[in-house]
């Protein structure tokens, strides 16, 4: 008895020692790996490579916009536009009231009492209590500061002077003088400057739509408002909505197309349904191959054949998922209960009826739930694939990011993508409950 206990005790102690060694070794291994990665990824150098000024521009731009007040120094003309966009240029008679202009002289009131004055080719930048900086545009740009501790960040050379304060930024070159003033929000989100509704407050717009005089005699204000919103030249809501539809369409066509392709293959690959062992082996290897090739490779090959667009994305999803569905479906088929099939057979059913009433009711819930799960995850994939094949919201997003200026659009698209994915998630969850559990 006592020897048995001693042996057991020794065994237990040995087990516990081994467990504690493992418990220490695993975190140590992970730590060692992370240290290796730290050097492999050159995280030390990251701090130098990181562009914090870019981060600041990005964050500021996501929630604010700037209005450009530009003087062409060769022709002496003035233009006021939002984000320097041609399509968002104010006409000379509707310039915002913080810009006072009378021919030669233009006074731009920035926030905090700061004033920039364009006086012909001369520019004055006034900061209250700190005096006025003077810039003269000639062969070179002469900068004259009132004091050495004038509170602005200044970047000056002979051909270009930039003065930045919290309220705005002034850039002067020989060709032009430009002042930027920052405002919170997303500019012209509902109506662009070409629309009669632009500049109205929400209440004014509603009042005009409900009770106002017809702005265009041949149609109602409501239809005008909707059409102006839809065709907004800056935000292009119509196109964006189309792009989202394209992305969902890619996911829809890809997922269900893959299910069509995979269904017969799954029967050929399932042990209990395969007509021959060799065929089963061949089909399974094909499915393995298709899954291994990966969406990226399919996407590249298909865009060569079909060119950019949503169809290419849909086909890439279709091919990739055929492999996954073939495997998942055949596993579900291998797990079917034989008894219902025998029961159906005992009533004299033929092969088709056996499948229809014995097999399909068993596997349908599994298939459907897989399908709906993939539909949701493919909405996300379609965004990524769209960025590569050039279709849908993914394309708009990458384009907006590549300009490195339209960050407010980037945040708008990100918001839309998240809403789209969450909506598809709830839709697929709702359908799953409805179709499978019959609630």
């Amino acid at each position: 008895m006592s020897t048995l206990t001693a042996a057991t005790e020794a065994h237990v102690l040995r087990l516990m020692r081994r467990k504690s060694r493992v418990a220490l070794a695993v975190p140590a291994l992970i730590l060692a790996y992370l240290v290796y990665v730290f050097f492999a990824f050159d995280l030390g150098g990251l701090a130098q490579r990181a562009r914090m000024d870019n981060a600041r521009i990005l964050l500021a731009d996501m929630v604010s916009y700037k209005t450009h007040v530009t003087r062409d120094n060769r022709r002496g003309t003035l233009s006021v536009s939002i984000e320097g966009n041609n399509r968002a240029t104010y006409s000379p008679d509707s310039i915002p009231d913080w810009i006072l202009t009378d021919g030669e002289q233009t006074r731009i009131l920035l926030g905090g009492g700061q004033v920039v004055t364009y006086d012909g080719p001369r520019v004055l930048f006034d900061i209250p209590d700190h005096g006025t900086a003077r810039l003269d545009v000639g062969e070179t740009i002469a900068l004259d500061l009132p004091s050495a501790d004038w509170p602005a960040s200044i970047n000056a050379s002979d051909s270009r002077v930039t003065i930045t304060t919290d309220e705005g930024r002034l850039t002067v070159t020989r060709a032009r003088t430009e002042t930027l003033r920052y405002f919170w929000g997303w500019e012209l989100f509902f109506f662009d400057l070409n629309s009669p509704f632009s500049g109205m407050s929400a209440i004014q717009v509603i009042a005009t739509v409900l009770a106002g005089e017809r702005i265009q005699p041949d149609r109602s204000n409501l239809s005008l408002a909707i059409s102006d919103f839809w065709n907004n030249g800056i935000w292009r809501h119509g196109e964006v909505l189309w792009a989202m539809f394209e992305t969902v369409l890619m996911a829809f066509l890809g997922t269900f197309g893959a299910a069509f392709v995979a269904l017969p293959l799954a029967f050929l690959a399932a042990q209990n349904f395969a007509p021959s062992r060799w065929l089963r082996f061949a089909v399974r290897r094909v499915l393995d191959f298709v899954r291994g090739v990966d969406a990226l490779i399919f996407t590249i090959i298909l865009s060569r054949a079909f060119g950019p667009g949503p169809l290419t994305g849909a086909l890439a999803i279709l091919l990739t998922d055929s492999g996954s569905f073939g495997k998942l479906f055949s596993e579900a088929l291998e797990n079917v209960d034989k008894r219902p099939i025998e029961g159906v057979q005992s009533t004299g059913a033929n092969a088709v009826q056996r499948y229809r009433f014995g097999v399909i009711p068993q596997v349908m819930p599994v298939f459907l739930s897989q399908l709906l799960y993939f539909l949701e995850s493919n909405t996300r994939s379609a965004t990524i694939i769209g960025a590569i094949v050039g279709g849908g919201i993914g394309l708009l997003l990458t384009q907006a990011i590549q300009t490195t200026q339209d960050w407010e659009k980037v945040s708008y698209y990100i918001l839309l993508i998240v809403v789209m994915v969450v909506a598809m998630d709830s839709l697929s969850g709702w359908l799953r409950r409805k179709l499978i559990r019959g609630e």
Binding site: Y33, L34, V37, A40, F41, D42, L46, R49, A50, R51, N54, A55, L58, E246, L249, M250, F252, L253, F256, G257, D288, R291, G292, V293, D294, A295, L296, I297, I300, I301, L302, R304, A305, F306, G307, P308, G309, P310, L311, T312, A314, R380, S381, T383, I384, A387, I388, G391, G394, L397, T398, I401, T404, V410, I414, I417, V418, V421, V422, D425
Partner: protein, 284 residues
């Protein structure tokens, strides 16, 4: 049961079946109509049409294979040159999976009723993991590339965030089925929250967690290759460069295709056998 009642039940049952068949048929018709019209819309908005492209679908792979066979001697060299990039892609996936799963674990604990440290924040933790899960990797990667410059770090962060969201949901589903008795036992001897989780919950859920994490690793390797293609370094970046060289340099692309394919198959097999061991126990 009397005969008329039986007949009544029969007619009712047949009517019900007929109705269900009509509904099912209608649903099918609507679905097929949606599918066909969707296909036609996608086809009309594509640069090349489906039926035309179908003939050309084999052209590029044929070119690729022909060149790869012609210059078969170059393939090993190209593969060796692309190997560091492959290691980078694998590292991105592994680090992102590791970080994402740790973050997902914390999120899942915070999102499970009965385990959460702050029970009031359970819905918040759930929404956070929903949002993390909804953001496609490419969005975060592209924005971070602008700030941090190209390279592996933006890809790691992007994949890790998405992984954390996905794992937060999957892990919390596992947590819902945890037996709370060990946790209560630990609480009764005065264990604090982290001890209760580490000693009472984790041992129960670890095999499931591991299995999900391995599956996620497979997914993340593919994601990491794709992110490389849009500029985040690794094998995807090499592939993109090889593709832009165009005709005459396809042997390089073919080598990378082969390398990527072999890696994905290898990792899938490895992870499948590991997962099999986790769920069915080690072979004796």
């Amino acid at each position: 049961m009397s005969a008329p009642a039986l007949a009544h039940v029969q007619t009712e049952y047949l009517a019900l079946t007929r109705r269900r068949r009509i509904y099912g048929g209608l649903l099918l018709v609507v679905f097929v109509a949606m599918f066909i019209s969707g296909f036609r819309i996608a086809d009309s908005r594509n640069a090349g049409s489906f039926w035309q492209g179908l003939h050309q679908i084999g052209d590029f792979p044929a070119d690729l294979i022909r060149e790869a066979v012609e210059k078969a001697a170059n393939l090993p060299g190209h593969m060796i040159r692309a190997f560091p990039a492959l290691v980078e892609t694998l590292n991105i996936a592994l680090v992102a999976t590791l970080l994402g799963c740790i973050l997902g674990l914390l999120l899942s604990l915070a999102a499970t009723r009965g385990l959460a440290y702050w029970p009031r924040l359970v819905p918040v933790a759930r929404r956070v993991s929903d949002v993390f899960r909804a953001i496609p990797e490419i969005v975060i990667a592209l924005v971070l590339i602008f700030v941090l410059g190209g390279g592996p770090v933006p890809a790691v962060i992007a994949i890790a965030i998405h992984t954390a969201g996905a794992m937060g949901k999957l892990f919390s589903e596992v947590n819902e089925n945890v037996d709370l008795k060990p946790v209560e036992g630990l609480a009764s001897v005065g264990a604090n929250w982290s001890q209760r989780m580490w000693l009472g919950v984790i041992p129960q859920v670890a095999p499931n967690y591991m299995s999900y994490s391995l599956l996620r690793l497979e997914i993340n390797i593919r994601a990491s290759a794709i992110l490389g293609f849009v500029g985040a370094g690794g094998i995807g970046y090499e592939l993109r460069n090889a593709m832009t060289f165009g005709q005459g340099k396809f042997d390089q692309a073919a080598a990378i295709f082969l390398l990527l394919f072999a890696t994905i198959v290898l990792v899938d097999q490895l992870s499948a056998s590991l997962r099999h061991r986790l769920t069915h126990g080690a072979p004796a």
